[in-house]
């Protein structure tokens, strides 16, 4: 069997067999191994999200009603615009990364430096945007009641058919109930911060205002959440046992708890990838400035970190589709 020899290849880069398998270096193949396994990890997450969603297909939260915020536009219903912007930022930082790799092939140090810097900035903006997205999601907007069975009851004002915040109609009842703290009671017991309003206050406000009704999690034939009639709503509100404002891993005002759990887990895991990508990019960036790769004779390290960075972009494309579009 004939082995083609390439005089340009440095002896140290050859593998034990005297040739590079697939004519790719060791580091690059290992990066691809990692990417394939990481892709399967993300597949596992996204498919389990799909599992929970198809299991609750007629009561899953509608993404357009959950992610409606845009910076500096308060009270404007802007579904998806912000995540679309985030997608463009990430795709663009992917482009600057390929340009850096390309400049590396031409051994152009100043261009590699410039494009790496742009990539880092893009990545940082993306992570910041994701943090803002989380903040809005955790804080919540309207609040809701939760029933014994874990269902969410949201409130709609029939006058304008818009959602209404529980804060807006709850009628205050003077109550002596305080948050239990370990320094004023039993030292070995404490509890989470109590919601600002109680179920009783929401019920009282609801009964006092005949224009309000309840919106359940169920999705009707036309793809909208079902509104209960006033009579049904008065009956239903007795099932409520707690006020939910915002979302965490246990309660979720937007609907099914699993929606919040998967949102935190999948976007969190992706955000962690972006964050590590930014850190690795910064390390490579300083190595470029110090001339490490100039001395080494090639910029393959930029290419390897580029593969990782594009993979993060690739995953976001799927997260964007399955969390925000579908």
């Amino acid at each position: 069997m004939e082995v083609t020899t390439n005089t340009q290849v440095n002896e140290r880069e050859l593998w034990g067999g005297g040739a590079k398998p697939f004519s790719a270096s060791y580091g690059k193949i290992m990066m691809w191994f990692f990417i394939v396994s990481d892709a399967l990890t993300f597949t596992g997450f996204l498919v389990s999200y799909g599992f929970s969603r198809f299991k609750n297909i007629n009561s899953w939260p509608i993404a357009d009603e959950v992610f409606t915020h845009f910076p500096f536009l308060h009270g404007v219903d802007a579904p998806m615009y912000y995540v679309a912007l985030m997608t463009f930022i990430l795709i663009f930082s992917s482009v600057t990364m390929v340009l850096a790799v390309d400049a590396g092939h031409h051994m152009n140090k100043s261009k590699v430096t410039f494009y790496m810097l742009l990539t880092i900035i893009g990545g940082a903006i993306f992570v910041g945007s994701q943090a803002w997205e989380w903040k809005n999601f955790i804080k919540g907007e309207y609040g809701a009641l939760e029933t014994k069975g874990g269902q969410i009851l949201q409130f709609v004002n029939l006058e304008n058919n818009k959602r209404i915040s529980v804060q807006d109609f709850a009628i205050g009842i003077n109550s002596e109930r305080q948050t239990h703290k370990s320094n004023i009671g039993l030292w070995y017991q404490n509890e989470k911060t109590l919601p600002k309003i109680t179920v009783e206050e929401v019920k009282k406000g609801f009964l006092a205002n005949p224009n309000l009704t309840i919106r359940t999690e169920q999705i009707s034939e036309n793809g909208q959440k079902t509104l209960l009639s006033r009579d049904e709503a008065i009956y239903k509100i007795d099932d409520a046992i707690g006020v939910v404002e915002g979302a965490n891993l246990i309660h979720n005002e937007y609907g099914n708890r699993l929606f919040a759990d998967f949102f935190f887990f999948i976007t969190g895991f992706h955000g962690f990838h972006v964050f590590s990508g930014v850190v690795i990019n910064i390390i490579i960036f300083f190595n470029v400035i110090l001339g490490t790769y100039e001395k080494r004779g090639h910029y393959e390290m930029v290419e390897k970190v580029g593969l990782y960075w594009h993979f993060v972009d690739l995953v976001w494309v799927f997260v964007f589709t399955f969390f925000y579009l579908v």
């Binding site: 790719a24 691809w32 795709i91 014994k148 799927f318 579908v326």
Partner: protein, 127 residues
């Protein structure tokens, strides 16, 4: 890797670029157009696409298809799979193309079954 080693044609040779940099910008424009179409469809939600097709809305099938198109161009042009040897290309792509649809198939089928069980009220979930 020298300039000459990049394959500079996309869309099965329909569009040829003069340099690798031009190809990168071309792919960016293409990806941006696809994303804009996705967002536009997501906001407008045309009535004609809301019909059910294979137990999912036609619109959702379009979103998934466009996503796979985007993923293809990111992998092929940004990650340079297009320039790799076919051995490396297959050892990356084939495991994913085989395992991912398999996982989707078994889990979504099971989820659909559980939905049916709860839907006919065999197990109470809303109490």
């Amino acid at each position: 890797m020298a300039e000459g080693q990049h394959k500079l044609a996309i869309f099965r040779g329909l569009l040829k670029f003069k340099s690798n940099q031009q190809k990168i910008w071309g792919v960016l424009i293409f990806l941006s157009i696809v994303t804009t179409i996705e967002v536009g469809l997501g906001i407008l939600k045309p009535e004609i696409l809301m019909t059910s097709f294979l137990r999912m809305k036609l619109l959702n099938w379009i979103f998934i298809l466009l996503t796979i198109v985007k993923a293809y161009y990111i992998a092929w042009d940004f990650m340079h799979i297009r320039d790799e040897r076919s051995g490396l290309k297959n050892s990356i792509v084939l495991p994913l193309v085989i395992l991912i649809p398999y996982l989707i198939f078994i889990l979504i089928l099971e989820a659909d079954y559980i939905f049916d069980v709860m839907d006919i009220g065999f197990v109470s979930w809303n109490f």
